[in-house]
């Protein structure tokens, strides 16, 4: 059902955890699925220096969380805002059709975290 990449990120998720005194926090939930995803950012000079996540969700949700953190780290906030769920899914070599919505969660949580940072630092 899942690609090897998905299973790799699912079994060894990168950047799990929380950042204390994070510069930005994004939380999204999908009511229908009941899934919740939280992303924590450390930002310096508009660049994502550190990023961590927590996820309650299926294998695809955990793998996309992990992947999105890997893709975002080191990027400028503007670059990170451009990250799409499609790009995350593609980086995982694809997701089953009925799991595409899970990848929305990850990109959305990242974007929420960036917005939250910008609100706090404007």
């Amino acid at each position: 059902m899942y690609t090897e990449k998905v299973m790799d990120h699912f079994s060894n998720p990168r950047n799990v955890g929380e950042i204390e005194n994070a510069d930005g926090v994004g939380e999204v939930g999908n009511a229908s699925c009941g899934d919740i995803m939280k992303i924590f950012l450390k930002v310096e000079d508009n660049v994502i220096k550190d990023i961590k996540f927590k996820t309650f969700g299926c294998g695809a949700a955990i793998a996309t969380s992990s992947m999105v953190t890997e893709m975002a780290i080191g990027k400028t906030l503007d670059e990170a805002m451009e990250l799409t769920n499609a790009a995350v899914a593609e980086a995982l070599d694809g997701l089953p059709a009925n799991k595409m919505h899970c990848s929305n969660l990850a990109a959305d949580a990242l974007h929420e975290a960036i917005k939250n940072y910008r609100e706090n630092h404007s």
Partner: protein, 388 residues
């Protein structure tokens, strides 16, 4: 890697004796039982023998057994066949909110086609209220459809009492016994059922065969019209090998039924106790005593079911979950919902279902791998208070 199958409520391997019994019917005795020549004759005897084996397990007469292709077909036949045959009597059906989709979706279809359906609620153990059932009966009620054992939680309905209420009000009683048959004694007379559905692949027969008990004199419109098979109650060339397998599986299930049930209950209880002793924030779903002997449904708080199943899978353990994330549907288990389990805990619900081949070692292995998996997943969870 060690493989541990704990998903017998989903399906079962074909039992070796069943496989032996069916093999001759693919190439040697391949005839059509409706044929009059040698190729048909050998085979029609085998079909009738299987009918007797099924009848014996559920205590009815062979003529009351009709072979089907699966439990879902049986449930559709029971509901649609009753509605079509009793149109002149009424259009009201009573069922429960925790039935299998084969009953629930059929009821929703019938609702769109002129039926009134009452979906009885259940309590937090998944149990129906007989008072509520009796109160729901009206002049137009033609059918009560209530399952014998729940596939997700194992909760057993009081079928004998339901049957009594049905008889008292002269309402037909259908019970979906797909999960009960072969695991506990099932007697259509005691239950007072007019219709009862079972499915082969849940009891060691191949997939693609099932049966419906239709009490003598019960008017039914066929779901599948055509040839004269099954005394005009179900058309289509007989699935001879499947039917022979179902017969043998019923015979095997009937042998030592109670000892096997006790053995499974012992293992299941050990698993349950082990989990409760080792892992905090665990909720057992389903009735504590009125429960199938092989079924354990637990919610591991803060963890989503599919991610747990994938971790199990990586360790060779096959189980199942009530999370929407595994089923491709949007809502998590309707059974958990009907029991009032909150959405997060419904997503956490995990079903272990044991079978005749389950062993003490299987249980020990699960109890060994479970705590670290739960710990790791909880640490990843934004809901877990231990992390805050």
């Amino acid at each position: 890697m060690k493989k541990i199958y704990m998903d017998y409520n989903a399906t079962t391997p074909v039992r070796p004796e069943v496989l032996d019994a069916i093999l001759p019917f693919y190439r040697e005795e391949f005839g059509n039982p409706s044929s009059v020549h040698w190729a048909g004759r050998a085979v029609s005897g085998a079909v009738e023998k299987a009918r007797e084996q099924v009848a014996k397990l559920i205590n009815c007469s062979p003529a009351e057994v009709v072979f089907t292709s699966c439990g879902s077909e049986g449930d559709n036949m029971a509901l649609k066949g009753t509605v079509a045959a009793l149109r002149d009597k009424g259009n009201h059906i009573i069922t429960t909110g925790v039935e299998h989709p084969a009953v629930l979706e059929t009821c929703h279809y019938l609702e769109k086609n002129g039926c009134d359906v009452t979906f009885l609620t259940v309590d937090s153990d998944g149990m129906v209220d007989l008072r509520q059932l009796e109160d729901a009966i009206t002049e137009k009620t033609i059918l009560i459809s209530a399952m014998w054992g729940n596939n997700e939680t194992g909760t057993l309905f009081p079928v004998e009492e339901i049957g009594r209420i049905a008889r008292k009000h002269k309402v037909r009683f259908h019970t979906d016994a797909v999960q009960a048959v072969g695991k506990i004694p099932v007697d259509v007379q005691k239950a007072g059922a007019d219709l009862l559905v079972l499915s082969g692949h849940k009891i060691g027969a191949p997939k693609g065969v099932g049966a419906i008990y239709i009490r003598r004199g019960t008017r039914m419109t066929p779901l599948i019209h055509g040839g004269h098979q099954e005394r005009n109650r179900r058309a289509g060339t007989h699935n001879v090998a499947g039917i022979v397998g179902l017969g043998m599986a019923c015979e095997l299930a009937g042998q030592n039924l109670e000892q096997n049930a006790e053995r499974m209950a012992h293992l299941r209880d050990k698993l349950e106790q082990g989990i409760l002793n080792q892992i905090p924030d665990v909720k057992v779903n389903g009735h504590r005593t009125q429960r199938l002997p092989n079924t354990l449904n637990v919610s591991f708080a803060y963890i989503e079911g599919e991610s747990l199943l994938l971790n199990f899978d990586m360790k060779g353990v096959a189980a199942s979950s009530g999370s929407a994330c595994t089923s491709g549907s949007l809502e998590p288990s309707h059974v958990m919902g009907a029991m009032g389990v909150d959405v997060a805990l419904a997503h956490s619900s995990t079903r272990f279902s044991l079978g005749p081949d389950s062993t003490e070692e299987d249980v020990d292995y699960i109890l060994e791998i479970l705590p670290p998996i739960i710990q790791r997943l909880r640490e990843m969870s934004p809901l877990y208070p231990g992390n805050k």
